[in-house]
């Protein structure tokens, strides 16, 4: 099964949910089920950001998942950058990941 290696960074306090490590290198499947399914023959699609968010929640996140994920995407108020650009310019969750991509998640915490 082919895989994709991407760099993931957390900032603005989100790193606290991920072992207090800001930077992670992760390897995920290049093709993933098109809809949630455990069936190996289910239709596949290229891995996208929505998949990565779920993968991170299931594999890397250590605590308080509700502070990271809400309604199938990142919680409102979390900024996402794809190769240093706002993910809103890149199709948000539908962005198809490429080998070597750098994805940054930053929480916009209140106050300080």
């Amino acid at each position: 099964m082919s895989t994709l290696a991407v760099k993931v960074e957390f900032g603005g306090g989100l790193e606290l949910l991920f072992s207090n490590e800001r930077s992670h290198r992760v390897t995920i499947p290049a093709l993933v089920p098109a809809s949630p399914s455990t069936d190996d023959d289910a239709p596949k699609k290229p891995a996208d950001l929505t998949y990565l968010i779920h993968w991170l929640k299931d594999n890397l996140l250590k605590e308080r998942a509700e502070l990271f994920v809400e309604n199938g995407t990142v919680r409102p108020g979390i900024l996402v950058l794809v190769n240093d650009a706002d993910w809103e310019l890149e199709g948000e969750g539908e962005y198809q990941l490429k080998e070597g991509d750098e994805i940054v998640f930053i929480s916009t915490l209140h106050g300080g």
Binding site: G11, G12, G13, L16, R75, P76, G77, L79, L81, D84, A85, D86, E88, L89, E90, G91, Y95, V104, I106, S107, T108, L109, H110, G111, G112
Partner: protein, 356 residues
């Protein structure tokens, strides 16, 4: 998807979609428009005059760190002629404020601004850690908020500044508008969108980031690689504000202009005169000399409750009556040092200057 080019310079790769306008812009244009909009906010509201001494309320968090950076940039670029200071309040929260103050100390070096740190402990004789151990986590935000407000004014008086600027951003103000509506606090609703609050005998306070989106502040800090501290306060945060914030973030996700639209609504409300009139006359606290709408200012009331082991006294009327029933405050009660305005404001200072 091919990289998009900047809607402003039509040259560089766009890196940000502006929540206010939907424009897609590049990094350099983003820095320029963000700073220019703050400059326009400052000049349109005529916040400063040449020679002003201005304290930046600095917590080490994203907003105040970006504010310090932008104030320094604009002061140099447009030659405002301001003398800038960093003013930090140490609430005494171990594992939270002690760490964030380290960030402020680095900012002092990075931005080359004098820094004053004033602690609750030196001013009130109580750290937030000690307060929480007495009152618990439920109402501690009341204490912290009242104490911080007064501590900032006292720090400003020590620095002898004319003006305090804070990092409150558009999201914060929209949240406050919603909260005041939901609480029916119409008098505050009328005031909360003002960029500047000043009575004749108080130190001027303003919010240069009033129209700056949190998203852009965080993006600015990220792309400028600014050094800021981000940990949520370890004591349970203001739950009501938390709900307003979550609601606002959901609205923003559906329609990014929601934040600026709510501020606009807040500004456009016309508050009935009889509601404004319910505000009490401003006087001077008979115990510490700070501005107050009662004989005793809120901080002195809270402090008395803490000292007498009846911390709820300033939070609810019933508890207050119970404390009053136990007799007057003992003579040897700890007091907040007498408040003195900076020299330049003293000329205007007078008791009962009127309604605000």
């Amino acid at each position: 998807m091919p990289p998009r080019t900047c809607a402003l310079c039509d040259d560089a790769r766009a890196i940000l979609k502006r929540p206010k306008t939907g424009q897609q812009i590049c990094k350099e244009c983003f820095f320029y428009v963000f700073e220019t909009e703050v400059h326009n906010t400052i000049t349109e509201a005529r916040l400063f005059k040449r020679g002003d001494r201005v304290a930046i309320g600095a917590s080490g968090g994203k907003d105040s760190t970006v504010l310090a950076h932008v104030m320094k940039t604009l002061n140099e670029r447009y030659d405002y002629g301001l003398e800038l200071f960093l003013l930090s309040i140490d609430e005494g929260i171990t594992g939270y404020r002690d760490d964030s103050l380290e960030t402020v100390k680095r900012n002092q070096q990075q931005y080359d601004m004098p820094l004053k740190i004033l602690s609750y402990d030196e001013l009130y004789g109580w750290t937030m850690d000690a307060i929480v151990s007495q009152v618990g986590k439920k109402n501690n935000c009341t204490f912290c908020g009242v104490f911080r407000r007064q501590a900032l004014d006292r720090g400003a008086a020590i620095l002898n500044v004319d003006h305090i600027v804070t990092g409150h951003n558009a999201d914060d103000i929209a949240e406050t508008v919603l909260m005041n509506i939901m609480r029916g606090d119409i008098a505050r609703l009328g005031r909360c969108t003002s960029i500047c609050t000043q009575g004749e005998d108080t130190i001027k306070r303003s919010k240069p980031f009033k129209y700056a989106y949190e998203k852009e502040i965080v993006m600015y800090a990220y792309f400028k690689k600014l050094d800021y501290f981000s940990t949520e306060c370890i004591y349970s945060p203001d739950a009501y504000r938390g709900h307003a914030r979550a609601f606002l973030k959901d609205l923003e996700a559906a329609r990014p202009s929601a934040i600026i639209d709510i501020i606009h609504s807040g500004e456009a409300f016309e508050i009935k005169e009889d509601i404004k009139a319910t505000q009490k006359l401003q006087q001077t606290c008979k115990r510490c000399g700070y501005m107050s709408s009662n004989e005793l200012c809120k901080a002195c009331t809270l402090l008395e409750g803490l000292e007498r082991g009846m911390a709820q006294a300033a939070v609810t009327d019933r508890a207050r009556k119970k404390m009053d029933a136990e007799g007057p405050a003992p003579e040897n009660l700890r007091r907040i040092p007498l408040f003195k305005l900076p020299a330049n404001l003293q000329a205007n200072s007078n008791v009962d200057t009127g309604v605000r």
